[in-house]
Symmetry: C2
């Protein structure tokens, strides 16, 4: 029997996914709603329980897992040198305008996970996604690349000169909170007015025409004029965001994931590309936009890739074993 | 006689500075206007001539210099794998709204310098400045830091996780061309409307009250109401730019140089800091703003630091020998 396995967690504002994997690929994946009540330890304790359940489902003893990769929504703060979550849609204390059933200021994520696992690598979810795309997806050979998710929120994973960017507390890539248009009346969950997330995230677009973002983009694709106008305006802001990152980081390739792009990337891409290319050719020449190579599994595979042994990676690259777990 | 010296170039839109240095420190520094006519090789050939003159002035044979560090205004493009300048205020072809006396599309900077010197390290001027501040200045111990120059233009050098960022063509840090306020009627030299350089660079501020930027900031400091209002608005946009970079890179410390900050940083700093701190505390808590530790020599020292032997650096750090060359 193989004596070494790895685990991964994908921690979002709505749900947690737990995966266990061996050299041949992922063995089991289970999900549960993100705990938002109880003690500050409730969330990481639930995550450990999910990993243990996944082990049982895969038929492996859970003490064979010593390394876990964690992709989590942020921002993070450091507490005694360990990463804790201060995510506004999980932690009730200090969050603006919400009704979370807790008064957590932070969630001691790394501390609780380290009580159980000897090796814990935590990254922002988009940084992990980019690690996955770098290992197995659309940017295996491109040292200057950015992963973007356009979904309920807007998040980024950044890679410059072949290295993933982390920053002082692992929060590099929160460019969804970059200010872009003061005059807009859109307000972000973080309190900003006119940041890119307030302008085009699924959550905020849903308010414009009083329909879900999914319905809005479907209507726009099908030619409904008012929806088309809102979607085209959103694509323009998205393109400007990619331009701003290109000016800042000298990026060559953008990999786009998230529900908006998975369903509508094909017709949105030319609008976004036109906006990028309309600016400063010395910086934007040769910039390309490509869809995620790992689709709905990008964050899970990204989390696994944080602790994946090199010897397994070669095999995974050839056999793409995650496809059988695609939800 | 010491048999090894190094050279450095600081190439700007207005002037070129050339420096030669030995283990004890810089030995000579001379400047000349940036060539903007003649062949495409005129600029780097002039730079070599200046280095040779500096050698004569220092009393050393110019064949003792084999390594040069170059800090240059950008953007760069790659030509046959070598960095060339495509700077809008040097290269006449393709520049918007100017009257440069040449039709250069690019200047083959690295190619011409390599014909003469065996080791040539070229960085964007603000990247070089940050290298100087990392080696000898205000951020020797801070792995997540950004150098900003606020002067005729706005430029950035970026350091994340202890590494300077370069990007696909060495153009990381052109965040002065980040779009921030669509509604503004300010137009940048790059053609953008409402990027940060169009909003607050010295060149663009000078148009507001029909006086030089220097006079505008002096008048604001001395309490003239209309000037104070323009300067305070500029400080707000500058603060928003630092916030945008913090959200993107998770920066801890900003080091500010350039003529605006050298003369007015003391009273502008609280305005800028207030703007940064007004946003998303999980990202901005603990962010500090500090003036350049190398002042007017920052780019020159930065260029030297690109090729400085480690054994010299220790001595320089103790004796700060560049101070005797301060212009």
């Amino acid at each position: 029997m193989q004596d070494h396995y790895i685990g991964a967690l994908d921690i979002g504002g709505t749900k947690i996914a737990a995966i266990v994997a061996g050299p041949e690929g992922p063995l089991a994946r289970i999900t549960a709603p993100t705990p938002k009540s109880g003690t500050r330890r409730a969330l990481p304790e639930k995550a450990i329980e999910l990993l243990q359940t996944a082990c049982r489902q895969a038929g492996i003893p859970d003490d064979r897992i010593d390394s876990i990769g964690v992709a989590s929504c942020g921002p993070f703060v450091l507490e005694d040198g360990l990463l804790a979550l201060s995510t506004p849609n999980i932690c009730g204390a200090g969050a603006k305008a919400n009704d979370l059933p807790n008064d957590w200021k932070t969630v001691p994520l790394e501390q609780v996970l380290r009580e159980k696992y000897s090796r814990v690598v935590i990254e922002n979810d988009c940084v992990a996604a980019l690690a996955g795309e770098r290992a197995f997806g659309a940017v295996q050979d491109e040292p200057n690349c950015v992963y973007v998710t356009w979904s309920t929120g807007i998040g980024f994973g950044l890679c410059v000169d072949g290295r993933l960017l982390r920053g002082k507390h692992g929060n590099a890539g929160h460019a969804g909170h970059m200010l872009m248009n003061e005059q807009e009346d859109a307000v972000c969950g973080c309190g900003n007015r006119g940041d890119i997330e307030s302008l085009i995230s699924g959550r905020n677009l849903a308010n414009r025409l009083n329909m879900t973002a999914a319905n809005l983009f479907n209507a726009a694709r099908d030619g409904r004029t008012d929806a088309r106008q809102v979607a085209a305006e959103a694509a323009k802001w998205f393109g400007r965001t990619l331009y701003n990152l290109t000016a800042t980081l000298d990026t060559r390739r953008f990999v786009i994931g998230g529900s908006v792009w998975v369903h509508h990337g094909e017709w949105l891409a030319p609008l976004v590309k036109a906006e990028v290319e309309s600016r400063f050719p010395a910086l934007t020449d040769g910039v390309t936009i490509t869809p995620s190579g790992l689709g709905t599994m990008v964050t899970d595979i990204g989390a696994l890739s944080l602790v994946l042994p090199d010897t397994w990676a070669t095999h995974w690259r050839i056999n793409t074993p995650w496809q059988k777990l695609m939800p």
